[in-house]
């Protein structure tokens, strides 16, 4: 589908957000009293706390489709057969998602629609419109030009905004995106030649952020199995198995399933995020652990995201958002380690 182009003035954004929030569930970057910015549901009254000049939000959009924990079904009777599905899939509009995070959703789509179709995830994705806000500046902590997931996307978005001076040039990339523009047509004008030119210039300029590594080279090094063992030893000695880097990751999707009873008596089968940096993730009854060591755990994550995912899906499992580097209590730096792998 050809991209359609529109324009919206930055001044009109609060009006648009107010209009969305009055009709639909709007999720956008919200700043709070300590200066943290998170993607959160916005009510019509809170539109003024939406911020659009941020590097990235602390959380990624993952949790709106694959939440930290959720009930899958509720047991209603004495037998395990007496169960109701309890999940909810609401129509949501995610506004101001960075390209790396939109790309992460594209990755998760592949994971959750593979051999097993994950109904919960896919229904939520169907009912969502994701409005991507491209990046016009290079940031120190992230590296989308190395993973091919930004600073602007070529595909895989519903709508992408390109900031140009006092306006955004708006690209639609899916039927859901086009329908959204139709719903809120009064805020958008068709783009003129000058808008298109300015947007193309902005995209070209942003693309000049130099890549920090070559993902093909990293793939080669990992798949050749020749990365020096010192790297894995270093990661293992630093990793505290807290799971923070994996929970905060926009593409990590692992979960564990358990039965839960709440104090109010509701009995449910639930799933919650799990992480491959926990020993219990792979340890079997009797204590045997096929991964064996901290080094094995470290290596598995790098291999999975930077090698196996490319084989499986044709894309990298890392979208270059850099969140994991900001979350580690052992100062494991994923980006620096990838560069070490490339140079090994």
């Amino acid at each position: 589908m050809a991209h359609e182009r529109f324009v919206i003035n930055k001044n009109d954004i609060p009006g648009l957000l107010g209009a969305i929030a009055s009709k639909e569930v709007l999720i956008a970057p919200i700043g709070n009293e300590v200066g943290d910015i998170n993607l959160l549901p916005v009510s019509g009254d809170d539109v003024s706390s939406v911020v659009l000049d941020y590097e990235n939000t602390i959380n990624s959009p993952k949790e709106f489709f694959h939440p930290d924990s959720e009930a899958l079904f509720r047991f209603t009777g004495a037998s395990h057969d007496d169960a109701d599905m309890v999940y909810v899939a609401e129509e949501i509009v995610l506004f101001g998602v960075r390209p790396c995070d939109t790309a992460a959703l594209g990755y998760l789509d592949k994971v959750f629609s593979g051999d097993f179709e994950d109904e919960l995830y896919l229904k939520r994705r169907d009912k969502s419109v994701v409005i991507t806000l491209g990046c016009t500046e290079c940031h120190n902590g992230c590296f989308c030009t190395s993973t091919g997931t930004g600073p602007f996307l070529e595909s895989g978005f519903d709508i992408q905004l390109v900031p140009v001076a006092t306006r955004y040039v708006v690209y639609t990339g899916s039927d859901k995106g086009s329908a959204f523009i139709e719903r809120y047509g009064k805020y958008f004008k068709s783009a003129k030649a000058v808008d298109k030119r300015d947007a193309e210039l902005a995209v070209l300029k942003a693309a000049k952020c130099p890549p920090k590594f070559s993902s093909d080279k990293v793939y080669d090094r990992l798949s050749s199995g020749k990365v020096h063992g010192d790297l894995w030893k270093d990661v293992a000695s630093r990793c505290q198995s807290c799971g923070s880097c994996l929970f905060i990751c926009p593409t990590c999707y692992c979960f564990t399933v358990y039965d839960n009873e709440r104090p109010d008596g509701e009995k449910t089968r639930c799933r919650q995020w799990d992480a491959c940096y926990f020993r219990g993730f792979t340890r079997m009854a009797g204590g045997a652990d096929p991964v064996g060591s901290g080094e094995g755990m470290a290596k598995r994550k790098y291999n999975h995201k930077l090698w196996h995912d490319k084989d499986r899906f044709g894309i990298s499992g890392c979208v270059g958002c850099g969140r994991c580097n900001e979350s580690c209590v052992g100062n494991v730096n994923w980006l620096e380690n990838i560069i070490r792998i490339e140079k090994s």
Binding site: V34, Q240, V329
Partner: protein, 678 residues
Amino acid sequence: MKLNYVLTTCPYCGVGCNFYLKVKDGHMIGVAPSRNTHIAKGRICVKGQNAWAIVEHKDRIKNPLIKKGGKFIESSWIEALGLVTSKFKDIKRRHGADSLGVWSSARCTNELNYLAQKFARAVLGTNNVDHCARTCHSPTVAGLIRSFGSGAMTNSIDEIKDAKCIFAIGSNATEAHPLIGWRVRSAKDKGAKLIVCDPRRIDMAEYADIHIQHYPGTDIALLNCLMNIIISESLHDLSFIKNRTEGFDDMLKAVSRYTPAYAEKITGVPKGLLIKAARIYATESPASIIYTLGITEHTVGTENVMSIANLAMLTGNVGKPSSGVNPLRGQNNVQGACDMAALPDVYPGYQRVDDPAIQKKFEKAWGVALSPRPGLTVTDQLIEARKGSIKALYMIGEDPLRSDPNINHVREALEKLEFLVVNEIFMSPTAEMADVILPGASFAEKTGTFTNSDRRVQLVRKAIEPIGNSRPDWKIVCDIASKMGYPFDYKDTAEIMDELAPLTPIYGGISHKRIEKAGLQWPCLDKGHPGTQYLHKDKFSRGLGKFHAIEDKPPAEVPDKDYPFILSTGRMRFHYNVGTMTRRTNLLNREFPRMFVEINPLDADELGIRKGGECIVATRRGSLRMRARVTSGIKRKVLWMSFHYTEAPANLLTNDAFCPISRIGEYKACAASVEAVV
């Protein structure tokens, strides 16, 4: 979609990280990090990451429980509170106010702790109020007050990353205080020197410049020796000693016999390593000492702390950034519970109960006559209960039947009580013994403040309504006090803070309003005071810092023919203290679901104990069966185990011999035997 991110303070250790509780449609679903708060800086440890999971656990106590015919029966609040107040009144009438005791809690808010001690003092009429700091950092409070005049971490947590030398003794920060472990790692990554003193090769020891693996209970010999070396090599800070301290000559005399050769014999550490460590600590400035319960949980706990203070003063490492003496507090609000005077000898802000002017101030504020007699510590309340002179206890969020040393002794004491009331969120071995259990609300269901290890008062915010019919603990204390005829009328916890701040000079400028964006570190004397990043700048709280002459003493129990090992106990990253919360958390318990004992491979070989094999560890107080974790990380003839497991409670084995000054038990060293189960 209703999804809220509620910014709050972690309920686990004393580091005091802020994070968001994710609340979806009124239920907890997870936790998210905060980047712009002072301690967390975008990070969460594994316990914090999972802190949401216990809030809506099925085991939560939802209604008051009254024991009738040996069984707990759910009751109404009216009935339970009626029973509690009539029993308290009756026992007070028959046996006097000092037959009652209150155990407040380092797990609860400052506001609860303030009310609990006010309840003991103004309503019951006794100073018998204390809490579990007695069994963790009471030697810190006692020791640092004697040395410096203030019993708290001297510097700030975030300064640790900028130290040039970190001297960690009896502290396993990566396990027990992960966000401080992160700062130690960061300092090391920036080139700092790291000295780790621990009988086990803990995580920090793996990347330390020097690992001093001394025997448990030989800290004073070790520290005196380091001072001996520093002085004999003239590496001490003469001008700091002259201008800022007193008592140097007495200390000098005491350390003179602790030559490296002499200390090697006591500590089991090669003298060359001691010399190297002393030189590094004395020359890499600023040097920060961090210590934890490996120092305090000894019969010489207070002397251990004062020895550390000696070492810091000797090298001028007090009163400047990234230096100091930094006890890492173990519980979310153990600092605050001490500040709020859940202690038997002081009013809030460490103002002594036997000072007539202070007594008068509180009598005026609270409108009742108060006792000038210091009360009993928890250690002594148990001793007196066993003797029969303590008749009733009110315990808030404490489980001494798992957390106190020699739990058989605790059981005997609790059995002797006429009446035991427990506030709890989960059933615990101690709660099982109660006559009445009052269901409390967890950290996620109430608003208040915790004070972390670096004296930072931070907000805890309510995320969901209390579970079932549980109530915030501060409200429960208000209900009991009011029913006993002394109205505790507070509309919220902010109002409690507003009452206590003017009475507590170090909290003078603190209010909930002021700490909405960021916590404040005490001393914070008035509304305009910015708080205090580090203590003792230019002048110690007591004027001059005081050196103490300290001689080493062996633990109360040393290895012998029958019990040839030294048993030490401690904590693991995935569990927290007696495991009430972490054992109920899927992802945490999955990591370490079973009790184990660490033993050196050479010892294991001699005894025929296999890797992962069953063995029996025994002391004079009891024995436990568990698996062996055979590791070269532990010194020969030393055993180590955690105390997280109710099914194998390590404190059945530990020694309740206690430090005569601070009354802490000797959890870290007792004589034990171990044998393989064949």
